[in-house]
């Protein structure tokens, strides 16, 4: 009875706290500008099924893909078992579904156990890749400090979580064979769990009934506390990707990657130049329009969703021609900076009754430097690489627009190019009248 109350309090506390933080993330994302990504529902569903659910792009690199698949499958399937844990915790039952589900129950939990072992192996391998093998993309400069700790904390939590599962199931298996488990005795002599039926006796065989009950409870409570803790850690971590990957892929850019947005505000001005009788659509005149992006609020909600969805895997950066050749640009850092600044803006709003109070900072300048922006070749390798269709290039381009159109701070050579295009219709100083001279060369 007491334990049920504690459980319900703990669970609802965890759920409320998470919901509150998740809503803040949502609010922050919606600070972004409107962009239409609600068209083509069936195409979006398809891409989400293939790329997010089916992990299609992950398999470009098979080794991490398989390791990641272990964790992903274990995470998704474990949610089924979590239903029972929640029910057991709330009503004080123990393995409530076992009697009614029978063989299917044994199969399900056994399957989860096998996936958990695979996830355990995957996690150890991931820790090794980061800390021992030092895979280049996982040890780059932008990961120093919190990002590195964040990554390791996630992996260690997963190991602890899996250990709790096997404490819980292993001790219960030994108790069941002794006839002392709180699970209803179906007269079958064993819970029949694929891993724990062997691992349990190996680890806990010969222990007293009292100790076994303690180990089982520590495992059970440890597991649920870890789950709730992990859930609440997500909004503070890059690991929020496990939830946002799905909507992020759903709202992917479905246009050809080479197609950049045409700024509507500019179109209205240009149309007015070509046709003096052109009347821009209403609603434009009173809003001060900033060309391009200086801060996170100048970006679209999708670009901000991208930032929260990024799990800092660094595939983008490892394929970036600028980064490969030692330039300052790292597409991953662009995404990390965007999220860091957005979280800073969110905190600012929290402490000022929901209003943003100017802090004299901005994404461009305080986080991202022009040197990074000007190193980009717009080759789309980063966009191609991202397993969940994040688009760092669009942020780079929006910031270039700000630098050029608001600050007139393009690199000198490019200003020359602009003048040439304006005057001669070519980036070089050749007269347009000479454009067909090649024919007679």
């Amino acid at each position: 009875m007491i334990s049920s109350i504690i459980f319900i309090l703990l669970f609802s506390g965890g759920a409320i706290f998470f919901t509150n933080n998740a809503l803040k993330v949502r609010r922050n994302i919606l600070l972004g500008k409107e962009i239409d990504r609600k068209d083509q529902f069936s195409a979006r569903l398809k891409i989400m099924t293939l790329v997010a659910l089916g992990q299609k792009k992950m398999f470009e690199r098979p080794i991490p893909a398989i390791l990641h698949l272990f964790l992903y499958a274990a995470f998704v399937i474990t949610q089924i078992e979590l239903i029972e844990i929640v029910v057991d915790g709330a009503v004080g039952s123990h393995r409530m579904f076992r009697p009614s589900l029978g063989g299917f129950y044994t199969f399900m939990v056994s399957f989860i156990e096998i996936l958990s072992v695979l996830a355990f192996i995957g996690t150890i391998a991931f820790l090794a890749r980061r800390n021992i093998l030092k895979v280049p993309r996982l040890v780059k400069n932008e990961l120093n400090g919190w990002p590195k700790l964040d990554a390791n904390l996630i992996l260690i939590s997963e190991i602890v979580l899996i250990c709790f599962i096997f404490m819980m199931n292993g001790a219960d298996e030994v108790l069941y064979t002794m006839g002392s488990s709180h699970a209803q005795n179906l007269g079958d002599g064993s819970l029949g769990l694929s891993i724990s039926a062997h691992l349990g006796p190996l680890l806990f065989g010969g222990m007293s009934e009292h100790s076994l009950h303690i180990i089982e409870r520590v495992g059970w409570w440890g597991h649920i506390v870890m789950v709730l803790g992990f859930l609440n850690y997500l909004p503070y971590s890059k690991h929020f990707h496990i939830l946002l990957a799905f909507p992020n892929v759903f709202y992917s850019n479905l246009n050809p990657k080479g197609q950049f947005t045409n700024m509507e505000s500019v179109t209205n001005e240009v149309k007015a130049i070509f046709d003096p009788s052109f009347v821009p659509p209403p609603g434009d005149s009173n809003v001060t329009i900033r060309f391009g992006a200086k801060d996170v609020i100048d970006l679209s909600w999708k670009q901000l969703l991208d930032a929260y969805s990024c799990t800092e895997c660094g595939r983008c950066t490892s394929a970036c021609p600028a980064n490969i050749t030692g330039k300052l640009l790292s597409p991953r850092k662009i995404m990390m900076d965007t999220r860091d600044r957005l979280m800073e803006v969110g905190k600012n709003m929290d402490s000022n009754k929901g209003e943003f109070k100017d802090d004299g900072k901005s994404l461009l300048g305080n986080y991202i430097t022009p040197e990074e922006l000007w190193a980009c070749t717009s080759c789309n390798a980063c966009v191609q690489e991202c397993p969940i269709n994040i688009d760092p290039l669009s942020i780079i381009m929006d910031m270039r627009r700000y630098v050029v159109m608001e600050e007139s701070a393009a690199p000198t050579e490019l200003n020359g190019v602009f003048t040439n295009i304006e005057n001669n219709g070519a980036p070089w100083q050749f007269a347009q009248a000479d454009r067909l001279n090649w024919k007679n060369d």
Binding site: G258, A410, R435
Partner: protein, 263 residues
């Protein structure tokens, strides 16, 4: 062997009261860059050889605005786009072939929303079409058995998912086509895109074109094939950097086809 080039303009067609099958969008590099002009001529030779009714805009053509847009000058881009759209819509242009993937991408993807909707193909796609329909055949065998590797232009490949057209064209050469490790969707940029062509590279420890040329040269090719005048410049410079310009040629797919046919 070589006949004089026939390069009619849209204005000439209009004067005759006719319209061509296709507009050949030459592009700034194709018009002014000495190396790229050779590619332009190769394309024209093929079009003439295949009796394609094409025309150029000539002095009415102006930069698509691509470098301005990628450099962040959206205003200048749209000014260029509207100017070009006015000219092309005036001629009732329906179909365009470009000699450059940057022009191709901009005309195909970024002009429609500004009022310029055309069917746009890259010259390697048109070559494939001409080969498939039998309008050109590859008779000469000057590249037979030669080792050729194709460097994917970013704005043809990743930007527009065109990977097969240049390759299926080159299959007709009876050459040995080899792929670099980073090819197709994983192709490495030559370093020129995003207006980098027109500025000094940012500080780093290597030039992008050196990194890419190194990868291509590691295959010991006879030819590095390209489909973009800017890639051509970058790869040519890269090959020179390694003093390989005597043994390794950097050629556009159009030049390969034209040379194979002794055009």
């Amino acid at each position: 062997m070589s006949e004089p080039l026939s390069v009619p303009t849209m204005a000439e067609y209009l004067a005759k009261g006719e319209s061509p099958e296709i507009l050949f969008w030459v592009g700034c590099a194709g018009s002014f860059d000495d190396r790229a002009k050779k590619i332009t001529k190769a394309i024209v030779k093929i079009l003439n050889h295949a009796h394609v009714k094409f025309a150029v805009l000539g002095t009415e053509e102006s930069c698509t605005g691509d470098p301005a847009k990628r450099a962040g000058n959206e205003f200048l881009f749209q000014m260029q786009a509207m100017t070009n759209i006015n000219v092309m819509n005036g001629y009732e242009v329906k179909r365009i072939v470009t000699g450059c993937p940057h022009c191709f991408n901009t005309l195909k993807n970024e002009y429609p929303a500004l009022g310029g909707s055309y069917e746009v193909v890259h010259h390697t796609q048109l070559l494939q079409e001409l080969l498939d329909s039998g309008r050109i055949k590859i008779e000469g065998g000057s590249f037979k058995g030669k080792k050729i590797t194709f460097h994917d232009p970013c704005y043809l490949g990743r930007a527009n998912d065109v990977y097969e057209a240049p390759r299926s064209v080159m299959i007709n050469l009876d050459a040995e086509l080899v792929e670099m490790k980073r090819s197709k969707v994983n192709g490495l940029c030559c370093g020129a895109g995003g207006a980098q062509m027109f500025k000094e590279a940012e500080k780093g420890n290597k030039e992008v074109n050196i990194e890419r040329s190194e990868e291509a040269l590691a295959l010991n090719p006879d030819v590095i094939a390209v489909g973009c005048p800017f890639c051509n410049t970058m790869m040519t410079d890269g090959v020179k950097h390694f003093n390989k310009e005597k043994s390794v040629k950097v050629l556009d797919v159009a030049e390969l086809i034209a040379q194979a046919n002794d055009l």
